[in-house]
Amino acid sequence: MTLTAWQQLLDTATSVPGVRGAVLVSIDDGLVIAESAMDILPTAEVAALAAAIVQRTLRVSAAASQRPPRSVRVSGDAGTLMAFVADGPLWLVAVADPAAELGRLRLLLGDVAAALR
Protein backbone atom coordinates (compact mmCIF):
# COMPACT_ATOMS: atom_id res chain seq x y z
CA MET A 1 0.00 0.00 0.00
CA THR A 2 1.28 3.45 -0.88
CA LEU A 3 1.74 6.35 1.50
CA THR A 4 -0.99 8.19 -0.40
CA ALA A 5 -3.42 5.35 0.19
CA TRP A 6 -2.50 5.28 3.89
CA GLN A 7 -3.07 9.01 4.04
CA GLN A 8 -6.51 8.68 2.50
CA LEU A 9 -7.53 6.05 5.03
CA LEU A 10 -6.24 8.17 7.90
CA ASP A 11 -8.23 11.10 6.56
CA THR A 12 -11.29 8.84 6.56
CA ALA A 13 -10.72 8.01 10.22
CA THR A 14 -10.24 11.66 11.12
CA SER A 15 -13.46 12.63 9.36
CA VAL A 16 -15.46 10.73 11.99
CA PRO A 17 -17.11 13.20 14.37
CA GLY A 18 -15.19 13.52 17.60
CA VAL A 19 -11.88 12.20 16.28
CA ARG A 20 -9.04 14.63 16.90
CA GLY A 21 -6.60 12.74 14.78
CA ALA A 22 -5.38 9.42 13.50
CA VAL A 23 -1.80 8.24 13.29
CA LEU A 24 -0.17 5.20 11.76
CA VAL A 25 2.46 4.17 14.27
CA SER A 26 5.32 1.72 14.26
CA ILE A 27 5.06 0.24 17.72
CA ASP A 28 8.59 -1.13 17.51
CA ASP A 29 9.99 2.35 17.92
CA GLY A 30 6.97 4.57 18.59
CA LEU A 31 7.48 6.64 15.46
CA VAL A 32 4.83 8.23 13.24
CA ILE A 33 4.56 6.64 9.80
CA ALA A 34 1.66 8.75 8.55
CA GLU A 35 -0.80 11.06 10.20
CA SER A 36 -3.97 13.04 9.78
CA ALA A 37 -4.73 15.21 12.74
CA MET A 38 -5.83 18.55 14.05
CA ASP A 39 -2.93 20.94 14.62
CA ILE A 40 -3.30 20.84 18.40
CA LEU A 41 -2.80 17.08 18.61
CA PRO A 42 0.85 16.20 19.36
CA THR A 43 1.06 13.22 17.04
CA ALA A 44 4.65 12.36 17.93
CA GLU A 45 3.67 12.07 21.59
CA VAL A 46 0.56 10.12 20.69
CA ALA A 47 2.67 7.66 18.72
CA ALA A 48 5.25 7.19 21.46
CA LEU A 49 2.70 6.82 24.25
CA ALA A 50 0.47 4.50 22.26
CA ALA A 51 3.41 2.33 21.30
CA ALA A 52 4.40 1.99 24.95
CA ILE A 53 0.88 0.92 25.92
CA VAL A 54 0.60 -1.56 23.06
CA GLN A 55 3.99 -3.04 23.89
CA ARG A 56 2.87 -3.56 27.47
CA THR A 57 -0.39 -5.21 26.44
CA LEU A 58 1.60 -7.55 24.19
CA ARG A 59 3.55 -8.61 27.26
CA VAL A 60 0.32 -9.20 29.17
CA SER A 61 -0.90 -11.48 26.37
CA ALA A 62 2.38 -13.36 26.41
CA ALA A 63 2.17 -13.79 30.18
CA ALA A 64 -1.34 -15.20 29.78
CA SER A 65 -0.21 -17.53 26.95
CA GLN A 66 -2.62 -15.83 24.58
CA ARG A 67 -2.29 -14.48 21.07
CA PRO A 68 -1.52 -10.76 20.67
CA PRO A 69 -4.38 -8.28 21.03
CA ARG A 70 -6.06 -6.66 18.06
CA SER A 71 -7.06 -3.44 19.76
CA VAL A 72 -6.42 -1.43 22.89
CA ARG A 73 -8.54 1.42 24.18
CA VAL A 74 -7.53 3.75 27.00
CA SER A 75 -10.30 6.02 28.23
CA GLY A 76 -10.04 9.08 30.42
CA ASP A 77 -12.60 11.60 31.55
CA ALA A 78 -11.61 13.97 28.73
CA GLY A 79 -11.00 11.63 25.84
CA THR A 80 -10.01 8.24 24.54
CA LEU A 81 -6.98 6.79 22.82
CA MET A 82 -7.78 3.84 20.56
CA ALA A 83 -5.24 1.59 18.86
CA PHE A 84 -5.90 -1.12 16.28
CA VAL A 85 -3.38 -3.47 14.75
CA ALA A 86 -2.97 -2.68 11.05
CA ASP A 87 -0.09 -4.57 9.52
CA GLY A 88 2.63 -6.26 11.54
CA PRO A 89 4.21 -3.64 13.77
CA LEU A 90 2.00 -0.90 12.30
CA TRP A 91 -0.96 0.16 14.42
CA LEU A 92 -3.67 2.69 13.69
CA VAL A 93 -4.01 5.03 16.65
CA ALA A 94 -6.74 7.60 17.07
CA VAL A 95 -7.59 10.12 19.76
CA ALA A 96 -11.24 10.98 20.27
CA ASP A 97 -13.25 13.45 22.31
CA PRO A 98 -15.51 12.26 25.13
CA ALA A 99 -18.51 13.15 22.97
CA ALA A 100 -17.50 10.72 20.23
CA GLU A 101 -19.73 7.70 19.79
CA LEU A 102 -17.21 5.09 20.77
CA GLY A 103 -19.23 2.08 19.68
CA ARG A 104 -19.50 3.38 16.15
CA LEU A 105 -15.94 4.64 16.19
CA ARG A 106 -14.64 1.23 17.27
CA LEU A 107 -16.22 -0.40 14.24
CA LEU A 108 -15.05 2.25 11.81
CA LEU A 109 -11.48 2.34 13.03
CA GLY A 110 -11.32 -1.43 13.00
CA ASP A 111 -12.44 -1.31 9.40
CA VAL A 112 -9.86 1.32 8.49
CA ALA A 113 -7.12 -0.65 10.26
CA ALA A 114 -8.08 -3.72 8.24
CA ALA A 115 -7.92 -1.69 5.04
CA LEU A 116 -4.40 -0.58 5.95
CA ARG A 117 -3.19 -4.18 5.64
Partner: protein, 250 residues
Protein backbone atom coordinates in the same frame (compact mmCIF):
# COMPACT_ATOMS: atom_id res chain seq x y z
CA UNK B 1 -58.22 8.18 -1.76
CA UNK B 2 -56.98 4.61 -1.41
CA UNK B 3 -56.26 2.15 -4.13
CA UNK B 4 -58.03 -1.17 -3.75
CA UNK B 5 -55.67 -4.07 -3.30
CA UNK B 6 -57.30 -5.85 -6.20
CA UNK B 7 -56.60 -3.06 -8.65
CA UNK B 8 -53.07 -4.41 -9.27
CA UNK B 9 -51.77 -1.07 -10.53
CA UNK B 10 -49.37 -1.11 -13.40
CA UNK B 11 -45.89 -0.18 -12.21
CA UNK B 12 -44.53 3.08 -13.54
CA UNK B 13 -41.48 3.07 -15.74
CA UNK B 14 -37.99 3.16 -14.27
CA UNK B 15 -37.44 2.96 -10.55
CA UNK B 16 -40.54 5.00 -9.74
CA UNK B 17 -42.28 1.75 -8.83
CA UNK B 18 -40.29 1.84 -5.60
CA UNK B 19 -42.01 5.02 -4.52
CA UNK B 20 -45.44 3.72 -5.47
CA UNK B 21 -44.85 0.38 -3.76
CA UNK B 22 -43.69 2.09 -0.58
CA UNK B 23 -46.69 4.44 -0.65
CA UNK B 24 -49.05 1.49 -0.98
CA UNK B 25 -47.28 -0.33 1.82
CA UNK B 26 -47.61 2.65 4.11
CA UNK B 27 -51.32 2.80 3.30
CA UNK B 28 -51.64 -0.81 4.31
CA UNK B 29 -52.47 -1.98 0.79
CA UNK B 30 -49.96 -4.76 1.06
CA UNK B 31 -51.16 -6.99 -1.77
CA UNK B 32 -51.09 -4.08 -4.21
CA UNK B 33 -47.68 -3.03 -2.92
CA UNK B 34 -46.36 -6.56 -3.43
CA UNK B 35 -47.78 -6.69 -6.95
CA UNK B 36 -46.18 -3.40 -7.94
CA UNK B 37 -42.85 -4.39 -6.43
CA UNK B 38 -42.83 -7.83 -7.99
CA UNK B 39 -43.61 -6.30 -11.37
CA UNK B 40 -40.76 -3.87 -10.95
CA UNK B 41 -38.39 -6.65 -9.93
CA UNK B 42 -39.26 -8.50 -13.12
CA UNK B 43 -37.61 -5.61 -14.95
CA UNK B 44 -34.85 -4.93 -12.41
CA UNK B 45 -34.02 -8.24 -10.70
CA UNK B 46 -30.69 -6.93 -9.35
CA UNK B 47 -32.12 -3.82 -7.74
CA UNK B 48 -31.37 -4.17 -4.04
CA UNK B 49 -33.79 -1.48 -2.82
CA UNK B 50 -36.65 -3.29 -4.56
CA UNK B 51 -35.85 -6.52 -2.71
CA UNK B 52 -35.60 -4.46 0.47
CA UNK B 53 -39.06 -3.03 -0.18
CA UNK B 54 -40.43 -6.50 -0.84
CA UNK B 55 -38.93 -7.61 2.46
CA UNK B 56 -40.74 -4.82 4.30
CA UNK B 57 -44.01 -5.71 2.62
CA UNK B 58 -43.62 -9.38 3.54
CA UNK B 59 -42.77 -8.41 7.11
CA UNK B 60 -45.92 -6.30 7.26
CA UNK B 61 -47.79 -9.36 6.01
CA UNK B 62 -46.23 -11.30 8.94
CA UNK B 63 -44.49 -13.61 6.50
CA UNK B 64 -41.11 -13.56 8.22
CA UNK B 65 -39.59 -16.29 6.08
CA UNK B 66 -40.41 -14.47 2.84
CA UNK B 67 -39.20 -11.20 4.33
CA UNK B 68 -35.89 -12.76 5.37
CA UNK B 69 -35.49 -14.27 1.90
CA UNK B 70 -36.14 -10.92 0.22
CA UNK B 71 -33.65 -9.14 2.45
CA UNK B 72 -31.07 -11.84 1.87
CA UNK B 73 -31.38 -11.23 -1.86
CA UNK B 74 -31.11 -7.50 -1.26
CA UNK B 75 -27.79 -8.10 0.48
CA UNK B 76 -26.62 -10.31 -2.37
CA UNK B 77 -27.27 -7.35 -4.66
CA UNK B 78 -25.63 -4.88 -2.31
CA UNK B 79 -23.87 -5.80 0.95
CA UNK B 80 -24.28 -2.22 2.08
CA UNK B 81 -28.07 -2.23 1.86
CA UNK B 82 -28.94 -0.64 5.17
CA UNK B 83 -32.66 -1.35 4.85
CA UNK B 84 -32.04 -5.06 4.49
CA UNK B 85 -29.70 -5.08 7.47
CA UNK B 86 -32.26 -3.25 9.57
CA UNK B 87 -34.97 -5.63 8.43
CA UNK B 88 -32.96 -8.73 9.25
CA UNK B 89 -32.04 -7.20 12.59
CA UNK B 90 -35.71 -6.57 13.27
CA UNK B 91 -36.61 -10.18 12.48
CA UNK B 92 -33.76 -11.47 14.63
CA UNK B 93 -34.76 -9.19 17.49
CA UNK B 94 -38.39 -10.28 17.25
CA UNK B 95 -37.25 -13.89 17.22
CA UNK B 96 -35.15 -13.38 20.34
CA UNK B 97 -31.78 -13.76 18.56
CA UNK B 98 -30.22 -10.62 19.99
CA UNK B 99 -26.68 -11.53 18.91
CA UNK B 100 -27.78 -11.76 15.27
CA UNK B 101 -29.69 -8.50 15.59
CA UNK B 102 -26.57 -6.83 16.94
CA UNK B 103 -24.44 -8.22 14.11
CA UNK B 104 -26.80 -6.89 11.43
CA UNK B 105 -27.03 -3.50 13.07
CA UNK B 106 -23.27 -3.27 13.44
CA UNK B 107 -22.99 -3.93 9.71
CA UNK B 108 -25.67 -1.30 9.09
CA UNK B 109 -23.73 1.22 11.16
CA UNK B 110 -20.66 0.54 9.05
CA UNK B 111 -22.68 1.17 5.88
CA UNK B 112 -24.46 4.24 7.26
CA UNK B 113 -22.38 5.66 10.10
CA UNK B 114 -24.36 8.88 10.26
CA UNK B 115 -27.84 7.34 10.32
CA UNK B 116 -29.21 8.12 13.80
CA UNK B 117 -32.01 5.58 13.41
CA UNK B 118 -29.54 2.75 12.92
CA UNK B 119 -27.27 3.77 15.78
CA UNK B 120 -30.28 4.21 18.03
CA UNK B 121 -31.50 0.73 17.14
CA UNK B 122 -28.06 -0.67 17.88
CA UNK B 123 -28.10 1.05 21.27
CA UNK B 124 -31.47 -0.50 22.05
CA UNK B 125 -30.32 -3.99 21.10
CA UNK B 126 -27.16 -3.61 23.15
CA UNK B 127 -29.22 -2.44 26.09
CA UNK B 128 -31.35 -5.55 25.71
CA UNK B 129 -28.25 -7.73 25.75
CA UNK B 130 -26.90 -6.10 28.90
CA UNK B 131 -26.24 -8.59 31.63
CA UNK B 132 -29.05 -9.23 34.05
CA UNK B 133 -28.71 -8.20 37.62
CA UNK B 134 -26.55 -10.99 38.91
CA UNK B 135 -25.57 -12.26 42.30
CA UNK B 136 -22.62 -11.03 44.31
CA UNK B 137 -19.25 -10.75 42.61
CA UNK B 138 -16.93 -13.48 43.89
CA UNK B 139 -13.51 -11.89 44.01
CA UNK B 140 -11.86 -14.83 45.72
CA UNK B 141 -12.59 -17.31 42.94
CA UNK B 142 -9.54 -17.40 40.62
CA UNK B 143 -11.65 -19.10 37.98
CA UNK B 144 -13.98 -16.10 37.83
CA UNK B 145 -11.65 -14.07 35.65
CA UNK B 146 -11.54 -11.16 38.10
CA UNK B 147 -8.28 -10.11 39.70
CA UNK B 148 -7.23 -7.25 41.93
CA UNK B 149 -3.60 -6.13 42.03
CA UNK B 150 -1.64 -3.29 43.57
CA UNK B 151 0.44 -0.60 41.90
CA UNK B 152 3.56 -2.73 42.15
CA UNK B 153 1.88 -5.49 40.19
CA UNK B 154 1.31 -7.76 43.17
CA UNK B 155 -1.84 -9.85 43.03
CA UNK B 156 -4.21 -9.10 45.90
CA UNK B 157 -7.06 -11.50 45.16
CA UNK B 158 -8.66 -13.43 42.32
CA UNK B 159 -7.26 -14.83 39.10
CA UNK B 160 -7.48 -14.70 35.34
CA UNK B 161 -9.69 -17.68 34.60
CA UNK B 162 -10.27 -21.37 35.16
CA UNK B 163 -7.37 -22.49 32.99
CA UNK B 164 -4.76 -20.20 34.54
CA UNK B 165 -2.47 -21.10 37.40
CA UNK B 166 -1.62 -18.79 40.27
CA UNK B 167 1.83 -18.32 38.75
CA UNK B 168 0.28 -17.18 35.49
CA UNK B 169 -2.06 -14.82 37.34
CA UNK B 170 0.93 -13.32 39.19
CA UNK B 171 2.76 -12.78 35.90
CA UNK B 172 -0.30 -11.14 34.34
CA UNK B 173 -0.69 -8.87 37.38
CA UNK B 174 2.92 -7.75 37.07
CA UNK B 175 2.54 -6.91 33.38
CA UNK B 176 -0.86 -5.27 33.87
CA UNK B 177 0.64 -2.88 36.40
CA UNK B 178 2.96 -1.68 33.64
CA UNK B 179 -0.05 -1.17 31.33
CA UNK B 180 -1.67 0.93 34.03
CA UNK B 181 1.49 3.03 34.49
CA UNK B 182 1.71 3.71 30.76
CA UNK B 183 -2.00 4.48 30.56
CA UNK B 184 -1.78 6.95 33.43
CA UNK B 185 1.16 8.61 31.71
CA UNK B 186 -0.61 8.77 28.35
CA UNK B 187 -3.84 10.21 29.68
CA UNK B 188 -1.90 12.82 31.65
CA UNK B 189 0.38 13.92 28.80
CA UNK B 190 -2.39 13.91 26.20
CA UNK B 191 -4.80 15.75 28.50
CA UNK B 192 -7.35 12.95 28.40
CA UNK B 193 -8.20 13.36 32.07
CA UNK B 194 -7.87 10.73 34.79
CA UNK B 195 -7.87 7.23 33.32
CA UNK B 196 -11.13 5.34 33.72
CA UNK B 197 -10.61 2.08 31.88
CA UNK B 198 -8.39 0.16 29.50
CA UNK B 199 -10.07 -2.35 27.19
CA UNK B 200 -8.04 -4.92 25.28
CA UNK B 201 -9.59 -7.07 22.57
CA UNK B 202 -7.82 -10.08 21.20
CA UNK B 203 -8.55 -13.33 19.40
CA UNK B 204 -8.55 -15.25 22.67
CA UNK B 205 -10.18 -12.89 25.15
CA UNK B 206 -11.55 -9.49 25.94
CA UNK B 207 -10.24 -7.88 29.07
CA UNK B 208 -10.53 -4.59 30.88
CA UNK B 209 -8.70 -2.72 33.59
CA UNK B 210 -10.43 -0.35 36.02
CA UNK B 211 -9.02 1.84 38.77
CA UNK B 212 -10.34 0.73 42.14
CA UNK B 213 -8.22 2.92 44.43
CA UNK B 214 -5.01 4.92 44.19
CA UNK B 215 -3.00 1.77 44.67
CA UNK B 216 -5.27 -0.94 43.34
CA UNK B 217 -6.55 -1.93 39.89
CA UNK B 218 -9.08 -4.51 38.81
CA UNK B 219 -8.60 -6.77 35.81
CA UNK B 220 -11.61 -8.52 34.31
CA UNK B 221 -11.14 -11.23 31.68
CA UNK B 222 -13.91 -12.66 29.52
CA UNK B 223 -14.15 -14.75 26.38
CA UNK B 224 -13.47 -13.25 22.98
CA UNK B 225 -17.14 -13.47 22.01
CA UNK B 226 -18.37 -11.51 25.02
CA UNK B 227 -19.82 -8.16 23.90
CA UNK B 228 -17.56 -5.30 24.90
CA UNK B 229 -20.42 -3.51 26.62
CA UNK B 230 -20.96 -6.53 28.82
CA UNK B 231 -17.28 -6.63 29.74
CA UNK B 232 -17.46 -3.00 30.82
CA UNK B 233 -20.69 -3.50 32.74
CA UNK B 234 -19.28 -6.53 34.55
CA UNK B 235 -16.13 -4.56 35.30
CA UNK B 236 -18.07 -1.74 36.89
CA UNK B 237 -19.94 -4.18 39.13
CA UNK B 238 -16.73 -5.91 40.08
CA UNK B 239 -15.10 -2.56 40.85
CA UNK B 240 -17.78 -1.78 43.41
CA UNK B 241 -17.24 -5.17 45.03
CA UNK B 242 -13.49 -4.68 44.98
CA UNK B 243 -13.74 -1.32 46.76
CA UNK B 244 -15.85 -2.92 49.45
CA UNK B 245 -13.31 -5.74 49.79
CA UNK B 246 -10.46 -3.26 50.14
CA UNK B 247 -12.31 -1.37 52.84
CA UNK B 248 -12.82 -4.58 54.78
CA UNK B 249 -9.13 -5.40 54.46
CA UNK B 250 -7.89 -2.05 55.77
Amino acid sequence: MTLPASSSPTPPRGHAFLELGERLRRRGQLDAAATVTAAGLAHYPDLGPAHDLLGRIRADQHDDAAAAAAWAVALECDQGNVGARKGLAFLAFRGGDLAAAERHLEAAVLAAPHDPEVSSALDRVRAATAPPIAGPVLLDDPAGGIMLFDREGMRLIGGVGPDASDEMADAVAAECAAVVRESVRATRLLHLGPWRQVIVEGPDSRSALFPVADDATLLLVRGASTPVGRVVAAGHRATVAARAWLERMT
